[in-house]
């Protein structure tokens, strides 16, 4: 198992946010992490990256327990995070954003530029001057430049124009087809479910349901995801 999360509990200060999340991603698998707002999706991702270390349970990446490892060590284990809110380095150029993250592997500047031609067109521009969609492409490109074993996308299409969303989903489908393991959080079920091999739903900081997208009935959707 590439990512193995077992019964993790996490806190923000004194208040508990996760009460036992179980989650796994196999090599080459795409897993959708779902749930309403505030149920713990982003907190789970932060725990996996050890940005907010879990106080109980364990996280293993490629069999290695991340306990006590600093975030940059976790990243080197093969986690490529595309954080919520398109967080680039605003005062670096597009190219510098990508090059700063580079680690040896099959993903190079050329391949990222091929995946997102718009980034190549804007390579000398400051990241802060890009549109929201382009910043998102840059954030994904930056994560790919680290040559991750597992790509984590946290709300990668939120707040983007429909046309740009299509581009991003196209890229995600292509990455999946190439065999990259993906953990993806997104609210657009119509795009998310066809990509996912498996879904995990969180409710109140716990894993509440997991299974194949085909088994996610409309009753289940109403119960766990409806507003």
């Amino acid at each position: 198992m590439l990512l193995d999360v077992a019964k993790i509990e996490a806190f923000y200060g004194a208040s508990q946010a996760l009460f036992g999340v179980d989650l796994s991603v196999a090599e080459g698998e795409a897993v959708a992490l779902m749930g309403r707002n505030g149920m713990g999706k982003t907190t789970t991702i932060r725990a996996i990256c050890n940005l907010n270390p879990p106080r109980a349970g364990r996280v293993k990446i490629g069999g290695v327990d991340i306990r006590g490892k600093r975030p940059h060590h976790v990243a080197k284990l093969g986690i490529g995070l595309v954080p919520e809110g398109r967080r680039c380095f605003p005062n670096l150029t597009v190219r510098e954003n990508l090059v700063a993250a580079a680690r040896p592997g099959t993903w190079t500047l050329e391949r990222v530029n091929e995946l997102f031609p718009r980034l190549e067109e804007r390579h000398a521009q400051m990241a802060r001057s890009l549109s929201g969609g382009e910043q998102q492409m840059l954030a994904i490109g930056r994560a790919l430049m680290t040559n991750p074993r597992l790509l984590i996308l946290d709300e990668a299409t939120e707040g983007l124009a429909p046309v740009i969303r299509q581009d991003i989903w196209k890229a995600i489908r292509r990455l999946k087809a190439e065999g990259l393991s993906i953990l993806v959080v997104d609210k657009t079920l119509s795009e998310l479910l066809p990509v996912a091999d498996r879904c995990v739903i969180l409710e109140n900081g716990k894993s509440a349901w997991s299974g194949k997208p085909a088994d996610l009935t409309s009753e289940l959707q109403d119960r766990y995801l409806g507003v």
Partner: protein, 324 residues
Amino acid sequence: MLSRENLVNLVLAATLLAVPLAANALGQPFYVTLATRIAILALAATGLNLALGLGGLVSFGHAAFFGIGGYAAGILATHGFSGDPLIFGLPGTNQMWVIWIVAVVVAGLVGLAIGAISLRTSGVYFIMITLAFAQMVYYFAVSWPAYGGEDGLSILVRNQFPGVMTMRPLSFFLICYVILLIGIGLFALIRASRFGSALQAARQNEVRVATVGIEPYRIRLTGFVISAMMTGLAGALFADLNRFVSPSMLSWHMSGELIVLIILGGTGRLFGPLAGAALYVAFEYALGGLTERWQFFLGLILLVVVLFARGGLLGLLAGKARHG
């Protein structure tokens, strides 16, 4: 086509070369010395610009490296002149290139020690702890009678460089000028490298850098050490320019001066330190001739720059800084 910034840079570099050549032809060696001073201070500030401009590390202790370079030159030259062995039976030397290597290595090692501890802090604490380390080196030099203590150390004859008459002001200027250009070239290479991007990324957001697998501490420490080495080399040249080294090279005024040079010229800009050093030395000379209190007016100018021209001189001449 040349960008506006490259054009400004080219003009700055050409002017710094043209002025002493003209002064020399007109028999005005004083201006050659002034230009040499600009080149050396610009080199020291280019070193600091790596840490401060790219890494966002406001080191208030770079005088330590500047002074260490100076003392490396002074001490080696003293032993070279007297023939007394330095340590472990090793002799001193009057060869500049040996002195430069020693200055760079010692400044780098001290930079490693100071950086390894200081970089565990950030913000105001980082400023204070680098200041504290520099003051330690300063008081050590003051209380070390073997090499002049408070009175400093004279270098009787300017050190030698193969094939160059270093005592001629213009020849020594050309040495400093070439080293400055190499230093600026190195800065440009570093800034364009993966390491330079990571150093700048760490300035902007530590957590985001960690999530792409880069340890901010190591990147910063490497940047800090390279920065210390370049400033140390400038210190060795400065000692040879004045043929004198004293604890004042190590004092916090010197650290402040280097920061001022960068702010005047443009933080993080390739030729910012040179622009700043030229402006600073010109003020020092022009205002210093009119009033003893020239630093008061320099303070006013600095205030204006910080309030109204945050990109410094290069920001004014070459447009808005990409830096932030």
